[in-house]
């Protein structure tokens, strides 16, 4: 069933890609240009999606005859929790400029550890040490400008 839907999704996606590609300009001296490859890829998606959907039509009919394990019960709570890491990534993206990379990472790790029932002191310890270590490793030694957090640099200048 889900394969059938995914096949449909690929077909629609491929169609959109082809449509968008038609707006690109053509190359001098050639009849095609930057639209050629996206169109071919879109075409591939449509055909592949179609094949996937069609082969599953047969199985859809069979599904009534024999029970299938996958459809049986779906763990919606688990699905929701599995989105938590993504939510924390979004949190990092939005908050790191202000709170700083280290604090955001520590907070995210703490939440993730606690939700799986790790002990509080252990989670705190690990998340603080790891966040600080990553921050120092990346910004000091690998010269990657991780956001240090405007919150702290401002309070600092005032404090001094």
């Amino acid at each position: 069933m889900r394969d059938f839907l995914l096949g449909l999704a690929f077909m629609i996606g491929g169609g959109v890609v082809i449509a968008v590609a038609q707006t690109y300009p053509t190359m001098p001296a050639l009849q095609f240009g930057p639209s050629l490859f996206p169109s071919l890829i879109g075409g591939g998606m449509v055909i592949g999606g179609l094949v996937l959907a069609l082969t599953r039509v047969g199985q859809l009919k069979n599904a009534f005859a024999g029970p299938r394990s996958q459809v049986a019960s779906y763990d919606y709570r688990g699905l929701l929790i599995s989105l938590l890491p993504c939510a924390l990534v979004v949190f990092y993206i939005l908050a790191s400029e202000f709170l700083g990379a280290a604090l955001c990472m520590a907070a995210s790790m703490l939440v993730l550890m606690l939700i799986r029932g790790a002990r509080l002191w252990l989670s705190l310890l690990v998340s603080i040490i790891v966040a600080a270590a990553i921050y120092v490793l990346f910004s000091r030694y690998l010269l990657i400008p991780l956001p240090e957090g405007t919150l702290f640099s401002q309070t600092l200048t005032f404090a001094w």
């Binding site: 889900r2 995914l6 690929f10 890609v17 968008v20 590609a21 690109y24 300009p25 190359m27 001296a29 050639l30 009849q31 240009g33 930057p34 490859f37 996206p38 890829i41 879109g42 591939g44 998606m45 592949g48 999606g49 996937l52 082969t55 763990d75 688990g78 699905l79 929790i81 599995s82 938590l84 890491p85 993504c86 924390l88 990534v89 990092y92 993206i93 990379a101 990472m105 995210s108 790790m109 703490l110 993730l112 550890m113 939700i115 799986r116 029932g117 790790a118 252990l122 989670s123 690990v126 998340s127 790891v130 966040a131 990553i134 990346f138 690998l142 010269l143 990657i144 400008p145 991780l146």
Partner: protein, 505 residues
């Protein structure tokens, strides 16, 4: 002879040896962290090499890059998260072996193959550089088009399970490769007005999203806290490696020579080498059906190939100053700075310096054995740490790793979105590896096709006019037609039984 001894003296002194060890450890960390690439590690070394002599400077680069490529397999084996794209070809294979409690054996074999591959590449570099570089210079956009197509085809044919799904996964990767400013026309495609997307989508955040974030999401969705990778007392790093090498010596040789060859081509590197070697290994194997279930043979081919590719890339760099990959692109600058101007004359006039350079290659590859061994022993931490502690830590590395490649928040968004898409696809048994290959090879395929068409003013037959191009083209077409030909042949013979039955078990 004096030059040779002089060269040895340049390498076997305390300073150079210390540099090699330090660089190897550095490469180990960089390679093992998804998001940090060997190229980046080498770029970071450049300012430091300003203050070094030529020999230690080059030693640092060689040791770092060789180690990083091997280290990419460590998180791949334990966590199903490849550290570098060169490891993505066989990550499924090594992870399944680890699930059977053979993680150390896998990594040990991998390490030995990497070292052999690296040494093989070095031998080629030392003895046949000029003629190999001469050959590599015959590759133009026509040849690269076929080569890219060959690589892409292999991802479909090595796919386990549904070929339709592998194909669809490939189209996702190809589509991602078209994002950004089109090199040929300068037209922006699928950028949605975001300036960062003009640069296109880098494969690092995509790889992190597809493998690492996806794996983390799976973990939080499952509510099971069991170890995926068991610990077994019997699992030893080097105990079984000699046996595997002995059984699969042909694969080692094939992988190494293929890797060196592809590495020497200025437009293709270690990642493509690993894919083609893996595919070729499977097609020539007597135990095809074991591939994808955790079969050591697949690892032998590909891990010799990616390390020999690293050495191979130095061939055109030294002979013509043409980079074989992104690492040697940086190396050439360092060579000029140190007064070792690349060119055919480097082999004649280089004197002790050149012998020192070759010796450095041997030493840097050999030193991988002890350091790699310690790393494999130490990587037990991946198994012993409870996953509820490990997974959040990996998430942090994912975020900073995705950011690090361009210092851009946009790449974290890309990682996130790709992770979500991959989560849906992976739950429905779509293989992820073809998408990575599609992204890596997509722009080569398109740009080489387009520039060939521009050169020939739109004449498709031009793809068969150059000898190497024609040969490669014939090979690709044969690969595509082979399955149908075999089927036809079988039907014609009308044998009732499939001819290849599993020999063992």
């Amino acid at each position: 002879m004096d030059d040779f001894l002089q060269g040895l003296a340049m390498v076997f002194n305390l300073q150079t040896m210390l540099v090699i060890v330090a660089a190897a450890v550095f490469g180990l960390f960089v390679g093992a962290i998804p998001g940090l690439t060997a190229t980046m590690a080498v770029a970071l070394l450049v300012p430091i090499t300003f203050y070094m002599d030529a020999t230690p400077a080059i030693a640092a680069i060689v040791a770092t890059s060789a180690m990083a490529i091997f280290a990419g397999d460590i998180p791949g084996t334990y966590l199903n998260i490849p550290g570098t794209p060169a490891s993505a070809a066989y990550v499924g294979e090594s992870y399944r072996l680890a699930q059977k409690g053979r993680a150390r054996e896998t990594l040990g074999t991998n390490l030995v193959c990497s070292v052999i591959g690296g040494l093989f590449g070095t031998m080629v570099l030392v003895f046949v550089s000029p003629s190999l570089a001469e050959m590599a210079l015959n590759f133009s956009s026509f040849e690269y088009f076929w080569l890219a197509l060959l690589g892409l085809s292999s991802s479909i044919f090595i796919a386990i399970g549904s070929r339709v799904k592998a194909f669809l996964s490939l189209t996702v990767g190809l589509l991602l490769s078209t994002v950004g400013l089109d090199m040929m026309s300068g037209a922006p495609r699928f950028t949605f007005g975001v300036p960062d997307l003009m640069a296109g989508i880098n494969f690092i955040p995509v790889m992190i999203g597809m493998f690492a974030l996806n794996e983390i999401m799976m973990f939080y969705g499952s509510r099971v806290e069991e170890r995926h990778v068991p610990v077994t007392a019997k699992d030893s790093v080097f105990l079984k490696a000699p046996g595997h090498i002995k059984t699969y010596w042909r694969n080692v040789l094939r992988g190494s020579s293929l890797g060196t060859l592809i590495g020497a081509l200025p437009g293709a590197g270690a990642d493509i080498a690993a894919w083609i070697a893996y595919a070729l290994g499977k097609s020539r194997s007597r135990e095809k059906e074991k591939y994808g279930t955790g079969h050591i043979e697949g690892i032998v081919d590909a891990s010799s190939a990616n390390n020999s590719g690293i050495s191979g890339a130095w061939v055109p760099a030294l002979v013509f100053g043409i980079p074989g990959d992104t690492i040697t692109a940086i190396v050439i600058g360092v060579l000029y700075m140190k007064g070792m101007n690349p060119g055919p004359t480097i082999f004649m006039n280089g004197g002790g310096q050149v012998y020192a350079l070759f010796t450095v290659f041997f030493v840097a590859n050999l030193i991988m054995l002890p350091i790699g061994y310690l790393a494999i022993r130490a990587s037990k931490v991946f198994i012993l740490t409870p996953r509820k502690i490990l997974m959040p830590v990996i998430l942090s590395f994912c975020i900073v790793g995705a950011f690090a490649i361009n210092n851009s928040i946009t790449d974290i968004w890309i990682m996130l979105i790709i992770g979500l898409v991959a989560f849906v696809l992976a739950r429905n048994d779509f293989p992820m590896a073809p998408a990575i290959l599609g992204l890596v090879l997509g722009s080569t395929l398109e740009n080489s096709f387009m520039s060939s068409m521009l050169k020939s003013n739109g004449d498709l037959l031009a793809f068969f006019e150059r000898p190497i191009s024609a040969a490669l083209g014939a090979m690709v077409i044969l690969i595509w037609l082979l399955p149908s030909l075999i089927r036809l042949f079988r039907r014609w013979r009308s044998t009732p039984q499939p001819s290849h039955k599993p020999r063992s078990s």
